[in-house]
């Protein structure tokens, strides 16, 4: 695809690659601040990805009653429902077992581990009731005895998860809507009247068979489990699309009526820009607060809501870019060769206009992480037992003497947000050379 194909900045002849993407990359690398920010973010992403192996209350590898096993890996399988815990490992405290030998993670606690001996805000430098230095709480504990360092590491995972998945959702919506608005404009998509009418008529029907008549099935599935729910949701989507496909099949029959056969322009750009204007004027944060107040706390909900309201920047960027690109020669060439418009858009137009989107994504991730920690801080929307950065920070309000609860999580939020903002700035400079000079 477009971004790993051009990994090398030089082509076979040893000349500098003159493609737009390679140019952006070179410009970005010139900005040392942004480049090091990127490296640091990759480092943090590494922590987020391997949080379970860095801070966990289960041994990485252990020998218990003569059997060697890896409880950390096993816990993944158990969480997914593929395996069950072995005899003797069910409902126990891993730290209290007598192992033949055990290899513990660098931090032998999780964000949910309660250390009853070290509850009530044990300072990082103060006295702690631990067996050895290996078991010390290096950043102290909170009121319930959660290890702050472990919470920080798992908090990285939650912050990155929220930032990346919510912006992933936003990118999908934004690129899709922005590109059809920009590429087709107001006069490029011609559809027969019959097709428009039949689609409008069948849309409620598709909604009905996809979702309304299946609402209890979906609800029951949500009660059974996440996987079953997703399966039913996909089935619903399939039915929804099926009805629309049938509708478009019927539209072929309407071709024989002259009035309905006449093709008219669909003002896609107008519709989508109006829609963007509506979404932009929604006060995002307050709306998110209202939504998380109504539903049960869940990080997936937070991600989905952030993604559903933060796509407008991406859509605007890509629309503006495609409005420019669609008049370039190579698009005209593709038209002249008779390729379908949709294929031209997907294969040629979008890959060449994606780079500004990355600016929006970088700033968007920073904003999403800030929203997540803000919600955690308020105690809304994020499950309480996760001990995210924001939740640790809010715990410090009832105990000012626990400075480690105020300093470290706040600093983590600040650093992460700053790094993503710096990357965003670097990308802006690299992509828009006019601002440089």
């Amino acid at each position: 695809m477009f971004f790993w194909k051009k990994n090398k900045n030089e082509n076979q002849n040893g000349e500098l690659d003159q493609s737009y993407w390679a140019y952006v990359k070179r410009q970005f690398k010139k900005n040392k601040r942004a480049l090091y920010s990127l490296y640091l973010v990759i480092f943090l992403a590494f922590i987020a990805l391997f949080a379970d192996f860095i801070a966990n209350d289960k041994p990485l590898l252990c020998s218990y009653q003569g059997k060697v096993s890896s409880p950390v890996l096993r816990s993944y399988a158990v969480d997914m429902g593929l395996m069950k815990w072995q005899e003797g490992f069910l409902n126990i405290q891993f730290s209290e077992l007598e192992y033949d030998w055990a290899m513990w993670p660098p931090i032998p606690y999780r964000n949910t581990t309660l250390d009853a001996y070290n509850s009530r805000f044990k300072s990082p430098f103060g006295e702690q009731r631990v067996e050895s230095w290996r078991w010390r709480h290096h950043l102290g504990t909170n009121k319930l005895g959660n290890d702050v360092l472990a919470c920080m590491i798992h908090g990285t995972r939650i912050a990155f998860l929220v930032g990346i998945i919510s912006m992933g959702i936003a990118t999908i919506i934004g690129v899709f809507l922005g590109s059809i608005a920009g590429f087709f404009g107001d006069d490029q998509l011609k559809v027969s009247r019959g097709r428009i009418i039949i689609n409008i008529l069948f849309l409620p029907l598709a909604l009905f068979y996809g979702f309304i008549s299946r609402s209890y099935i979906l609800g029951d599935a949500a009660g059974v489990g996440f996987g079953v729910f997703i399966l039913q949701l996909l089935l619903s989507l399939f039915l929804f699309i099926l009805v629309l496909v049938i509708a478009n099949g019927l539209a072929y029959l309407l071709k024989f009526i002259p009035f309905l056969k006449k093709k008219i322009d669909v003002p896609l750009d107008l519709i989508i820009t109006r829609f963007i204007e509506i979404v932009v004027s929604v006060p995002v944060l307050v709306l998110i607060l209202a939504i998380v107040a109504v539903f049960k706390p869940s990080i997936f909900l937070v991600m989905a809501v952030i993604g559903a309201v933060r796509w407008t920047g991406i859509a605007r960027f890509i629309r503006a870019e495609l409005l420019r690109v669609r008049n370039l020669e190579y698009i005209e060439a593709a038209h002249a060769l008779g390729f379908p418009k949709f294929r031209t858009m997907m294969k040629h137009a979008i890959p060449n206009s994606l780079s500004p989107v990355f600016i929006s994504i970088a700033f968007g991730i920073a904003a999403a992480i800030l929203i997540e920690s803000f919600l955690s801080f308020l105690g809304l929307g994020i499950p309480k037992e996760l001990n995210t950065w924001g939740q640790l920070l809010t715990q410090s309000r009832s105990a000012p003497e626990a400075w480690w609860l105020a300093i470290f999580p706040g600093f983590a939020i600040f650093i992460t947000v700053t790094l993503f903002n710096l990357i965003g700035e670097g990308l802006t400079d690299a992509i828009d050379p006019r601002l440089k000079q």
Partner: protein, 476 residues
């Protein structure tokens, strides 16, 4: 120009409509039965018929007060197995159960018959005057009969029926008087399960209710500033907001003024000295301020500057309302200022950094323009070039950034007011969320949405006024 403004205003209304729909949908999805939340008295607690009737009447009254006796929206779009008069069923929990039963059986008439038989049986139970022999089974039935409304599952209802049957066996007098009513329930339930027509779940049905619906009442009252009553204390929401809005507005306005006074010269200064050490320092500081989460700074300030154990330089909560009584105006001003200064700082620095960065960027953009080079080339004084030619042109977009600053303020107010316990709208919103006081939540959200939209509207119109190019493009 005029055309542009009209177009802009016309867009305002569908936007408002869309937002009101989203918020209304949320208010319907909100968990719990609002009427039950409002009524603190337990219904039928003593088990007397009069208590039960009184409880139900209070329920009905509150239900009408909250407009819950009306259909949800202008129309309904559901399966034909569902009834279009479901909203007339008194309790929300009953509605849910019946809707599920209707889905399972596909036959609303039978569900309705079952429900009425059940209601009739319940009434008969309450009317029955037990003697000593039938006392125990009667009490037992009376305490259990209410549960059946809550579960639609076949097994649970059958279990319920067999339980009641057992109680009837214990007392003949009970069976003679109300046994027949229970038989009705049983036959109604049996026919509900046997005469199914689940195919109705695949037939769409649309019902039109007209303007006599909850949404219509809510939005028309909202436009007239009648926001309804709070679940928490049953006060008028408009009066609650009236009490709270002063401090939020005061600090917001002070903050906006402060932001513009500091940010604009700072941005210009930075842009003029681009590349100098002073610019680098200010830019870095501003960048850090821009990324510093204000809830962290606010927490640090209140933990370590308002705490007797560390430094108690500032008061830790409130706006000093009980301290100003009997003080002279100047002293009162000092006390108020002392309370407000930290919140104001936390409230302001983020938008300050944002605005001065924008100002710097705008100014740099203008300074690169050809007409600035021309002005310099013709030998104009540098001060004149900057303040007369560049500054005025770079100021225009910054003025309109007001629209972006405004929502920032509101979201700032939520957390700052919470941390510093200021009696403002933001704190009210968070409190209402924690107590699940949804009318207050949705009113505040709706108000913020409207104010934000008005902010954008004003900014757009302002922009059209100050930048003639906008007008040109709309005429074209």
């Amino acid at each position: 120009m005029f055309q542009y403004i009209i177009k802009r205003i016309l867009i305002f209304f569908p936007t408002l409509f869309a937002i009101s729909l989203v918020i209304y949908a949320l208010s319907i999805l909100a968990p719990g039965d609002p009427v039950a939340n409002m009524l603190t008295t337990a219904q039928g607690g003593e088990g007397n018929q009069s208590d039960k009737i009184a409880g139900e009447e209070a329920y009905m009254e509150m239900r009408e007060k909250l407009n819950l006796h009306l259909p949800t929206f202008y129309f309904s779009f559901s399966t034909s197995a569902q009834s279009d008069t479901l909203y007339k069923i008194q309790k929300l929990s009953h509605q849910e159960t019946l809707s599920r039963l209707a889905y399972d059986s596909g036959n609303w008439d039978n569900v309705s018959a079952y429900y009425h038989a059940l209601r009739n049986f319940e009434n008969k139970i309450y009317q029955f005057k037990p003697d000593s022999a039938s006392m125990a089974p009667h009490t037992n039935i009376r305490n259990n009969v209410g549960q059946v409304y809550f579960f639609p599952e076949d097994a649970k209802i059958k279990n319920f029926i067999s339980k009641i049957d057992k109680q009837f066996e214990k007392s003949d007098s009970l069976k003679q008087v109300i046994g027949a009513d229970f038989e009705n329930v049983k036959t109604a339930y049996a026919s509900l399960r046997s005469e199914t027509s689940t195919w109705k779940n695949y037939i769409p049905a649309i019902h039109w209710y007209g303007t006599n619906n909850r949404y219509h009442k809510w939005i028309t009252r909202f436009i007239c500033f009648d926001f309804g009553i709070s679940y928490q204390d049953q006060l008028e929401i408009s009066s609650k907001i009236g009490d709270r809005i002063f401090w939020t507005m005061l600090i917001s306005i002070l903050s906006i003024i402060l932001t513009y006074i500091i940010a604009v010269p700072l941005g210009v200064f930075s842009a003029i000295n681009k590349g100098n050490t002073s610019d680098n320092v200010t830019s870095t500081i501003l960048f850090i301020l821009y990324s510093l989460p204000n809830f962290w700074i606010a927490t640090l300030l209140i933990n370590y500057l308002c705490n007797p154990e560390y430094l108690q330089w500032f008061p830790s909560f409130g706006v000093g309302s009980d301290l100003v009584e009997g003080k002279s105006f100047f002293q009162a001003l000092m006390i108020r200022g002392w309370h407000i200064i930290l919140p104001l700082i936390c409230w302001t620095y983020g938008s300050l950094a944002f605005l001065s960065r924008q100002m710097r960027g705008g100014m740099l953009g203008v300074l690169r323009q050809d007409y600035i080079r021309t002005a310099r080339a013709k030998g104009l004084d540098e001060n004149k070039v900057i303040w007369k030619h560049a500054f005025r042109n770079s100021l225009l977009p910054v003025i309109t950034l007001f629209a972006n600053v405004f929502p920032l303020m509101i979201s700032g107010s939520i957390v700052i007011e919470m941390i510093f316990t200021l009696p403002g709208m933001g704190k009210m919103l968070v409190d209402a969320m924690i107590y699940q006081d949804f009318p207050v939540v949705f009113t505040v959200v709706m108000m913020v949405a409207v104010l934000t939209m008005i902010g954008y509207l004003i900014a757009d119109i302002l922009y059209a006024f100050v930048d003639p190019r906008i007008t040109y493009s709309s005429k074209k």
